[in-house]
Every structure is written in structure tokens, then in C-alpha cells.
Symmetry: C2
């Protein structure tokens, strides 16, 4: 395993689920591979041999095909894109303070990260295979078999998204070969959508006329009403990500000197939207002031922000929220959006800072 | 003037600004022209002669051109689309209960409506003119001159949106010629975006490499922080609409028989999103139940919903909220999003119903 940053939280070892501390994500466009969150469903990670690996493209296509890794590299142009991935369970811990979604991983704000991904456009591969009339969805099947589902991990995206320039079949992460832990030899990267659609250890791309009936789309990763329970087809499949933000530095609970304190964080608009404003409050949202936005590394990446707060000695709760380019804003309270599987907590971010007067107060 | 429904609110007569009562919008896919809201900036409405009217296409195009109405009809294929328009000031009255944005029209929930619009695709016209390399935005100029700006009404949309299939130059509304009051002979219809971009009495389409510097994009129709004041370039230009909903029937304040009461409303996701769920609460959001969604007339139209509430005798506040296809949800409280110009109130909808027991209680 790689060298993970101090403060990494391992939620489970089989399957391996882990997130970095928030400070490891702060102030850099690209998240180092060692600090990138791990979200697995299978107890054992697939280890695929790139020399024998092949991608099957089938379903509603005119020319079903199988591509070796070399064939993908030779046949199609390489593209790269800086993309933020974010788990639908990111920030679930905030929902668990309202009520516990049993059996779910208590993700903090670290189930997100940004990398430069390189590979081929899914659209180029689909055009080569020829999408048949009537097709509406494109499913991805990975080599990992989750215990909870007893079937290979499989989900889909609408054909319109599958054909968009930004969707990649990636073999490279941050200018190095894609690590086994992140889906080698090839994974899907679906910018703007929940991480669950960016299938790792990809083995098959299937064009169809309906969304995937796989467990992780038909049962899991769905938004359920608070009084409902998971069952096939209940609720709504999660897809694009809603606007979200968090404070990344200082750490939650940190002791800081009283006076001016630099506070930084991330924000992600989701879908094809951008973050246009981030507000910070030290009075629980009664008043806000605007943070400064950093330039975005790409249309599909998070947006870092920073501000300086003049903190009096004592404890301050810092609240942050983002607005997207449709003037969509985060809801205030996790209780408003509590749901049985604990997804999409995009309520206002809150961290507590303890400011200590330099005189030793 | 047309025959407007009883209960229409005329906010001002010069410029003419008016909205129908919410019940006039309830339970029908298409809003009758008589019930469609009027939002004007000029004291006098332009009256253009279709026989002499011409559309100029200029700026960063390879073949600047002028089209008469007949030329548009002959040269390009007609397309129609069911589209909901919504003013950025819709539901401003809810923000005014928090604090008054001075000088702004106190719109209720009726500054929205849905029509079948027919005309030509803007993309077809732009392709005929040939968009020059480096172009990024497409501006629309109307014939109306607002007193507050002393310049013809002009705004723009990004080139990517301008080239999308759904953007129309429309001469027909609900299968009849576009009325003068709604922009005849030709208006722009920009689905998913604030109504302010759907320019009426269109005279000019200008391709450019920057957004419009017109008053109604550079100064007005911008989201400002609560402690800021309008000035050129301050805040963020509003564009796509954030998810929103309202109760349309029964009317706010209505007296109804105690027992089962059918409650209906509208919801709009904005941008290219769809409404995936609407929740209704009778305990101010402590608990919710899911409303039934009606089929959508088109991808670009609102979504009606209905539910039946069992109302006890007495006063009940009914709260509704919608979720979009990115799991974006409306914020609870208008105070959270109060802004100096009073735009984008997409806080939870609230109406009060008075239920009377049949025994005469």
C-alpha cells in the first residue's frame, strides 16, 4: 500500500475504505495519489494483468468489439482532464449526527479528490463500435464483485453523457500509470457525477435502452425519502452531484492563535455547473462574507477558496456554503436532507476553531 | 389588452408588470396566453410591423446578414418546444418579508408560465451566418428601451447555449401568432434560464467574445451578497434557474373543508436538470411525504405535482419543496438567500389553509 498522510481514516480494511484528513486536500489543485480516497465494494481488490486485459464493447452497437490496452492506445487519441471525483457518501458523518443510517460508512469530508486523468474518450470508442438506434444508456461493468450484491459492479450513465467529450476511459492518474487501487489498468471517469459511476477495473461497456439494473444503481446510490427503506427501484438514482463545499484548513477542532486566521476550503458545483461564490459565516449564517475563489484547474474540478477571519479568543464555529452557476445554494441543516442511506449531505460545512490569545489567555 | 383571469395582480401599468393568481397556473401543462405573466422594462411596449421588421445578425460572424420574417420562415425549418419561462424575481414577495429590496416589484409565485413556442432554432441562424473563431457569447437586442437604462434591452448567453437545439427565435405562442405583449413579431426563448434572457421584440443577434455589457446583465439580474449594492460588474450574473416549486391550488389563505384536500403545485429544476421528487410537509419540514409527479410536457417544462392531505379543522401551513436530478434541494428559509435585488427566492414554498369542519365547527 502507498504512504498515506498522517490522520488518514481507514473506515474498513476489507473492503478497503479510507479517506485522508481534510488538511491533506487543502490548497492544491491536484490531490496526491497517496491522499486520494479509497472506496471499494469487494473484499479483495481485483488485480488485472494489463498484458491480457481486454475491454469488451457490446450491447446495442453495430460492431461489437474487444480492445486490448495496446489497441486502445493505438486506435484512439489520448486526452487528459483534471476532474474531481466525489463519493455520494462524502460528509455522511454530518447526517449521522441527526440519525444513524445503519451499516453505512461514516465518511467525513475526505471522500473527494482531484486528479489529472488521461486515457481515451468513451465517445471515440462508442463511435468506433457504432451506437445502434434506440440506445439510451451506456453501462460499465468492473471486475470487482461486492459481497452485498454477489454480482460484478455495474452501473450506467445516459447515452448523452457517455458521448460527452469529458468522459474518459483512463489509464493514467496524475501523470503516472493508474494504480491498481484506483482501478488499473483502465477505469471510467465521469466528471460531475457521483464517484459511483466512475467504474474501476473496467471490463465491459454495454450500450442499452434502459439504465443499469445492477445493484449499485437499482438499489444502492439512490435518494430515498426519510421514511422509506432500500428496495429495487425505490427512490431516485443519484447521478450528477449537487453543489457542496467544506472547510479544509485549519482542521476541525484545531487550536489557532487569536487574530487573523487564514481559512481555506473546497467547493464543487456538480453536473456541468461551476461554483460562482462561497460565503463564510462566524455567526451560524446570520451574516456572511464572501470568500476569495481560486482559479479552477478545469471546468470539471473543484474550486478552492480562502478567506481571513479575525478570530477572538475562544471557540468559533466557522460555517461555509457555496452557490452554483444556477444560483443553487446549499441547504443549511443536515436534518433537512437526511435520507436512509445517508447520501448527498450538502448542508452547510461547519468546523470549530479554538482561538488562543497570544498573551496566553 | 387580453382578458386576464380574476385575481390578476397588476404591479405597475407603465411599464406593464402583472402576474396571474396561482390557481390560474394549476393543473395544466400550458398556461393560457391570458394568464401568462408580463414583465416589461419600457414604459411603452414596442409595436413592430411584421411586414417591415428585420433581424440583423452581426458581430463575430463570417457572413453578417439581415432576415425579414418571411426570410426566416423560408430559410429555416420550424421547430416547436414546450418551455417554462420564469422571472428571476418570481417569489420575491417571500424575500420582502425578510427585508425590503427597495424599488423592486413584489412578485408572487405567478411570474412563471409555460407555453408551446414555435419558430426557428437560433443555432440554424448562427450556422448560416458562420460563427467566427474566438466567439464565446451571443447577445440579443430588443426594441424596448428601459427608462432605468436609457438603452435598448440587451443581454447575452454563452455560445454553447446559443447553439443548443432548444434555443428558439419564436414567432408563435400556444399555436397562435406571438402576441405583441409577449414580443412580436419574434422573441428569443432560452429554456432553463431566467426569463430575462428570453429577449422580446428581438431586432439584433450579435456574436461576441465577451458577455453583454448591457444594463440588464452587467448591473441588474445579478446575485449580490447581502451587504453589497448594485454597481456594474458587482456580484454574479444570473443565468440558469435553480430548483424551485410552489403550491398552486388551493389558493394561499383559502378556506377548505376539513378532511382530504387535494393540493397541487408546480416545480422547475432549471438549466438542463429535471425535477425528480417533490415533498410536502404540514409540520414545517419536520417530516415530509412525497407528492405524485405528473408527466413532464417536455424536458424544458415545469413539472406539476399533486397530493392529498388530510387536514384537521383549523389552520395548517403547507410546505413544499422540490429536488432536482443532481439531488439539489431548495433551501428552507428565505432569510438564507436574501439578496439586495431580491432575486432567486427558491426557499421552501409555504401556503396557509383554513380547514372548516363540515359540522360547522
Amino acid at each position: 500500500m502507498t504512504t498515506q498522510p498522517a490522520g488518514t481514516t481507514v473506515h474498513s480494511s476489507q473492503p478497503y475504505n479510507a479517506e485522508p484528513p481534510r488538511t491533506a486536500l487543502a490548497d492544491r489543485d491536484l490531490t496526491p495519489v497517496d491522499a486520494f480516497y479509497h472506496r471499494n465494494h469487494a473484499a479483495e481488490r481485483p488485480r488485472l494483468d494489463p498484458a491480457t486485459w481486454a475491454l469488451r464493447v457490446d450491447g446495442m452497437v453495430e460492431r461489437p468489439a474487444t480492445f486490448s490496452l495496446d489497441a486502445l492506445r493505438e486506435r484512439f487519441r489520448e486526452h487528459s482532464e483534471v476532474v474531481t471525483l466525489q463519493c455520494a457518501g462524502n460528509r455522511r458523518a454530518g447526517l449521522m449526527e441527526v440519525a444513524d443510517p445503519p451499516g453505512e460508512t461514516p465518511w467525513g469530508p475526505g471522500a473527494t479528490g482531484t486528479a489529472r486523468w488521461a486515457g481515451v474518450r468513451l465517445a471515440d470508442v462508442l463511435r468506433e463500435a457504432g451506437v445502434a438506434p434506440g440506445a439510451t444508456d451506456v453501462a460499465f461493468t468492473g471486475a470487482d464483485v461486492a459481497e452485498e450484491a454477489d454480482e460484478p459492479y455495474a452501473v450506467s450513465v445516459p447515452l448523452e453523457k457517455a458521448l460527452a467529450d469529458e468522459v474518459l476511459l483512463a489509464w493514467s492518474m496524475n501523470d503516472a500509470p493508474l494504480p491498481s487501487a484506483h482501478g488499473a489498468p483502465v477505469r471510467v471517469v465521469v466528471p460531475g457525477w457521483i464517484g459511483a459511476r466512475s467504474v474501476k477495473w473496467l471490463e465491459r461497456v454495454t450500450v442499452a435502452d434502459e439504465p443499469s439494473r445492477g445493484h449499485f444503481q437499482a438499489v444502492a446510490y439512490r435518494l430515498l425519502p426519510a421514511d422509506d427503506a432500500p428496495a429495487p427501484g425505490r427512490g431516485v438514482a443519484l447521478g450528477p452531484i449537487a453543489v457542496n463545499a467544506d472547510v479544509l484548513s485549519p482542521a476541525d477542532g484545531a487550536e489557532v492563535p487569536a487574530g487573523p486566521v487564514r481559512v481555506t476550503g473546497d467547493a464543487l458545483a456538480g453536473g456541468d455547473r461551476t461554483v460562482v461564490r462561497v460565503d463564510v459565516s462566524t455567526d451560524d449564517g446570520a451574516t456572511w462574507h464572501e470568500a476569495d475563489l481560486e482559479p479552477q484547474a478545469s471546468r470539471w474540478s473543484w474550486r478552492h477558496w480562502h478567506t481571513t477571519l479575525d478570530l477572538p479568543a475562544g471557540t468559533t464555529r466557522v460555517v461555509a456554503r457555496a452557490w452554483d452557476s444556477a444560483a443553487g445554494v446549499q441547504p443549511a441543516d443536515p436534518a433537512e436532507l437526511w435520507n436512509p442511506k445517508g447520501y448527498v449531505n450538502n448542508s452547510w460545512a461547519r468546523v470549530t476553531l479554538h482561538a488562543v490569545a497570544s498573551g496566553g489567555g
